[in-house]
Symmetry: C2
Subunit: 403 residues, 2 copies
Amino acid sequence: MSNSRRWFLRALTAAGGGIAVACRGTGRDAPAAARSLLGAPVDDYGERSPFERIARRVAQTTTPENSSSRTPLQDLHGMITPSSLHFERHHSGVPNLDPAAHTLMIHGLVERPLVFTVEELKRLPSVSRIYFLECSGNSATGWRPVPQPSVQAGHGLTSCSNWTGVPLSVLFKEVGVKPEGRWFVAEGADACKMARSIPIEKALDDALVAYGQNGEALRPEQGYPIRLLLPGWEGNSSVKWLRRLELVDSPSMTRDETSKYTDLMPDGRARQFTFLMEAKSLITRPSAGQKLSGPGFHEITGVAWSGSGAITRVEVSTDGGATWADATLQSPVLPKAHTRFTMPWRWEGSEVVLAVRCTDETGFVQPSRAELVTARGVNSNYHFNAIQGWKVQADGAVIDAAI
Amino acid sequence: MSNSRRWFLRALTAAGGGIAVACRGTGRDAPAAARSLLGAPVDDYGERSPFERIARRVAQTTTPENSSSRTPLQDLHGMITPSSLHFERHHSGVPNLDPAAHTLMIHGLVERPLVFTVEELKRLPSVSRIYFLECSGNSATGWRPVPQPSVQAGHGLTSCSNWTGVPLSVLFKEVGVKPEGRWFVAEGADACKMARSIPIEKALDDALVAYGQNGEALRPEQGYPIRLLLPGWEGNSSVKWLRRLELVDSPSMTRDETSKYTDLMPDGRARQFTFLMEAKSLITRPSAGQKLSGPGFHEITGVAWSGSGAITRVEVSTDGGATWADATLQSPVLPKAHTRFTMPWRWEGSEVVLAVRCTDETGFVQPSRAELVTARGVNSNYHFNAIQGWKVQADGAVIDAAI
């Protein structure tokens, strides 16, 4: 532990920045009465404490079924997102599918078109990995800036889970993809028939047909009973409630890869099939909408991730980007997964702007907004990954801040 | 991929061991009607599908409050245990604690006794790690064997979570442990005042006062709002609903480290303070109580873990222990965490005994029951970690089998 860090910690008990209080005569010990009663019995499926109220933030777009809900990043710990708080984005609501009746058909440019039941998929070789999933529309208000009330409201369309499923490469080997099968169309069983065209290379790399999420079955809003999972790629392409994979020779130009999920550039042309979610990081505490209890020691923490691989460095600035210092990465640091970072910090009580930027294993450094806008203009609605600042005001209140 | 594995996979579509069916004319595609309706709207806190019924198995010992419930290992995927399905073991039920009123007192042989509120603990430097937690009474029926109906019934007192909390070393630095403070007593706020004596070295190593579990707050049955977490050590020592840490010069000889949680040896003496949970592995699918659908390809999967560090090798036998083959370890492979393993297997339809053994980074190899009993006799109720076999009968039914 560095000398400066040791100083921070000693300061906890100093008069000015003290956190804990001396234990004698404080009256702060738990009341004895609360400890004299038997508690609740064991149960078959647990629930959270009634004192816990953190929730996804519903941001209705047009109808309750064509809407999104955002992960409360400011309240979370570690790298795993609780399944109950994984962000949602659906275009026609969450179908209630019976796994005994659901099937996956693989057809098109293949030697042996096949239909698999969910039970059959579970008998096949499986892979388990921890991967983030981020909607490409996350942080979209950064393009044409609107100050956001919280990290959840602005950036809560990213989550991270332990996924389990069958490698798509196994399934494609079974059906025997013909040489001209260079793309595949994935179609969901939701009413909008969500469909995306995906290049065959992703199937042969790390794509899964997933049925497990954080140890149990996929949650309904994450595609129960099966979904496509394309690690590191925009969430929309990981088609939920997956029912059909059709091998084709070129993209099908579905609605959600033409009128949506494309990036309009300054010259009026649109980037298409921009699947990769590039490196990004967020300070989740302190963040907008929170208020520091007072000067003294505070931990700065958050998450960083990259669709290109593992995060190698996270730097935090407490002076609006003038200087940067390395944060500690909490293990494990995994490719295409949220990485939790922490940094000790002493707030002196004056206005400061906090910011974070990350670097991934390809050497890619998260850009400033100016750098991002220079490259892509301000017409896009997707793939915003610039540095996000938070201003700590003199009273401790934290607000959204451009840097 | 090896030739033998490729052969397994091709066999999926062969007439005899086929899994999937050709898709034309099978009538197995999902009914169109189910896809034409809008689904459920987004929600603030998700729940699992109504089709999912897996549950902890309640094994009442004396009263509903002094009882345990076991994780359904046979139904889980990956390395993370869903918080709702984490095993439970309480001696006086689950207290419903208000985090705003709960405190942690650290006193005894210290320079500055202190009381921390939960909010104060959350301001301090934090650590996040993925660790298993196993009750030392897990698998206890192995000492004086009673065939178990399932891996859950026999071995379900182990789970694995992403924990977040304050290093105990940080707290102990703050209070200034006196040189004679060689142990500490951790006491819970449950009605039985669960208390255990722990050597100071563990506090200075990797012990946490944890408040986060799988991204959100600890669940009530896991110690909400705070618990001690001693990675790799028997679950009982990771005191839940933690309210007090008293630095002492020697163990306090509490009830749960004298009359309980000690290991009676063949010579009549008892091992005490046997905190370490040594390396262990379990095949979770196929396992007792399940039935194979028929000959052909099946994946063998399960978990391995060690309180001494990372798992380095998992070997599976499909002939009752006569020969062994290396299983694939799913990443990440982390110290003191469940490691998911997988192995492709073709069942020929005759009776076989499956088994698994693991090796950890210290070189420790999980023992056979004969080896374990030679060392420790059969009087103990704790720390059973011998190899577990499962017999696949000719009809596909799987039962508990000694090997």
